[in-house]
Amino acid sequence: MVTHDAVWQALGEIEDPELPIAITDLGLVRSVEIDEGMVRVRLVPTFVGCPALDLIRERVHRRLLGVPTVHAVDVQYTFDEPWSIDRMTETGRARLTAHGVSVPRVHLAEPATCPFCGSTDLVLENPFGPTLCRAVYYCRACRNPVERFKPPADVLPVPGR
């Protein structure tokens, strides 16, 4: 018999392809339904245009087929309710910070904290970065470039301030 615990544990072993964070800590898993050996997973993307979506779906599909007694897996993205940064767990935030990525609490417009020196004297250099979900800042205190996790925007920052 397939249990929710077994499925969630398996999902927790799947890393995001672009950042060192489990997809469960990133908050990508919206729901899990189990019907005998059939598992239905609904994922919510951080950014709809993210090029990693197929890869994440395949990883989920493959990993769940490895859970004992699971014989069918249906993985789909849903947009019922958009992803927001409060879906990220504290574990996820800590992992990204340790990796050198600053993570805002609510939105990008709030003051940024440098993951290296803790200063808040950061300027936004570019709202676009190496992936759709990251912006690039510069820390005036320790003079390091800083990547910051970028949630889809409701409130926007002003570049250079």
């Binding site: 609904r42 709809v48 245009g49 090029p51 570049p159």
Partner: protein
């Protein structure tokens, strides 16, 4: 992605064949605009004026194409085809993008003016869909609006920078606006499908009303930058009916060449 036509909150209106076809046409226009403008933006990768704008324009391109894919996925779900086949397997006459999106880049000023006019227009129509009774399609539009905001901020900043630059920069922006404005009006081309959606209450605002909203949004900003909107310019329409510049054919030849070499290949 989940099939939105079959979602629990799918609007009743799509159970009617004519309305379903009209929603499909709306999605196709959105998708084709996003794909083609995304492709044009992507042509700046490696060539933009500085590294920040190169990264930004490339990211915006990637995101527009990603948004196109979401819409194509929904059309594909309706017709048992695939997003790739819709994107790569059609000739120019089957595309429903506005002419604005297909015009070659020319200089950076043109690309910025085009991106600015387009992103503000896209915001108006996404807000219209988001406020519509189209259920899951409205939810999708709301989600996309949050992502598109970053494009608008980028285009706003660059338009201001160029318009307030020297004579060369502001002159290029004005010339770009002279070309792009009538084509931007064509984003809001009325078709029998858009009229149908208004008639059945699926959209609260028709294309003319959306165009007025957009104009009241962009005109004061252009005035403030001392840019002149071409007086009495007629909208360049036809894109929504498959009438395009020869440039779209060239773009598609290049964009689809790999796919056409083996349409059945799995990537």
């Amino acid at each position: 992605m989940t099939n939105l036509w079959a979602a629990p909150d799918a609007p009743a209106v799509v159970s009617d064949a004519a309305s379903r076809a009209a929603v499909r046409a709306l999605l196709l226009a959105l998708a084709d605009d996003e794909l083609i403008v995304g492709h044009r933006h992507s042509e700046w990768t490696g060539f933009a004026p500085d590294i920040e704008s190169d990264v930004a324009m490339s990211s915006i391109a990637q995101e527009e194409i990603g948004h196109a894919r979401v819409f194509y996925d929904q059309i594909a779900a309706l017709e048992g085809t695939s997003a790739d086949r819709l994107a790569f397997g059609r000739g120019p006459e089957a595309f429903r993008n506005a002419v604005l999106t297909e015009r070659p880049n020319g200089d950076w000023a043109f690309s910025i003016v085009r991106a600015w006019l387009y992103d503000h227009a896209d915001a108006v129509r996404l807000r219209t869909v988001a406020a519509s009774p189209l259920g899951p399609f409205a939810s999708l539009a709301k989600t996309l609006l949050r992502e598109e905001k970053y494009h608008v901020v980028f285009a706003d900043a660059w338009l201001e920078r160029l318009a307030r630059g020297g004579d060369d920069a502001s002159g290029r922006v004005q010339r770009a606006l002279d070309t792009a404005w009538p084509e931007a009006l064509g984003v809001f081309e009325t078709t029998p499908d858009t009229e149908h959606l208004v008639r059945v209450g699926a959209l609260a605002a028709g294309m003319d009303a959306q165009r007025s909203r957009w104009e009241s949004d962009v005109r004061p900003r252009l005035d403030a930058l001392a840019l002149t909107v071409p007086a009495g310019a007629a909208a360049v329409v036809g894109g929504r009916q498959g009438r395009h510049l020869p440039d779209l054919g060239m773009l598609l030849m290049e964009m689809t060449s790999v796919w056409r070499s083996d349409p059945e290949a799995r990537w």
